[in-house]
């Protein structure tokens, strides 16, 4: 059973505010990911990290930024929230060292962000 946590679960905030979405995992996984999910749409990767001090942008352009100072922690920050940022944000992690290869990703419960 995967142990990956996201806070807050729900956030309603006004335009222009700075926000940080938290993601933590207790499995010691090297890889972590942030996906954005809109209703009826597929998940889109916005950021990922191979390990500490590693961050990369994903397929979907995003105004958010991430950091990876500790293995277990991968926060996502929006410096100035806008209504277009309203979405569900899902964090995931994986351990590529597992036998058999492949990246089985384990997901957190998500943060539903609404920007007014």
């Amino acid at each position: 059973e995967a142990d990956i946590y996201q806070t807050p679960r729900y956030l309603v905030i006004g335009t222009g505010k700075k926000i940080t979405l938290e993601c933590s995992q207790t499995m010691g996984h090297d890889k972590m990911y942030w996906y954005q999910q809109d209703p009826g749409m597929e998940l889109h990767l916005i950021h990922y990290s191979y390990g500490v001090n590693s961050t990369e942008k994903g397929d979907l352009s995003s105004e958010s930024t991430v950091s990876r100072i500790r293995t277990e922690h991968f926060p996502l920050t929006l410096e100035s929230a806008r209504p277009s940022h309203t979405s569900q944000y899902l964090c995931a992690s994986s351990d590529a060292r597992l036998a058999g290869g492949g990246d089985t990703q384990y997901f957190g419960p998500g943060t539903r962000l609404t920007v007014l």
């Binding site: 990956i4 996201q6 679960r9 990911y33 009826g40 749409m41 597929e42 998940l43 990767l45 990922y48 990369e56 994903g58 397929d59 899902l90 995931a92 590529a96 058999g100 290869g101 492949g102 990246d103 089985t104 990703q105 384990y106 997901f107 957190g108 419960p109 998500g110 539903r112």
Partner: protein
């Protein structure tokens, strides 16, 4: 580039009936294939995965999926659906180990009627 198509946006089945959710993928090499389930307000839970070997894979909650290379498909099945199976189901494809991420389909919403 990888891509996944789930042709059915919404499926309704009666409780106890069999279920098949379709998934077609596009990828140049042997893919890693996954099915995830998402209940309302929740994250994604892994149902099963295919990396290699036996093309019929068993997952949790009584689900199974069959990889058919000739059809580029990885359909999810369950012989008898329970009301608690109502959820959104996502098929995903990943490249070989070390790749960046998974590519997801748009999902199939399953409704179960009594």
């Amino acid at each position: 580039a990888q891509s996944v198509t789930q042709p059915d946006i919404h499926i309704t089945v009666s409780e106890g009936a069999s279920l098949e959710l379709r998934c077609n993928y596009s990828y140049g090499a042997t893919p890693y294939l996954f099915w995830y389930v998402q209940s309302p307000g929740q994250g994604l839970q892994l149902l099963l995965k295919y990396f290699s070997g036996d093309t019929l894979v068993q997952g949790i909650k009584g689900f199974e999926a069959e990889f058919k290379r000739s059809q580029s498909s990885f359909n999810l099945r369950k012989p008898s659906v329970h009301w608690s199976d109502a959820a959104e189901y996502f098929c995903a494809v990943g490249a070989v180990a070390g790749a960046n991420n998974l590519f997801f389909g748009t999902g199939t919403r399953l409704t179960v009627i009594p």
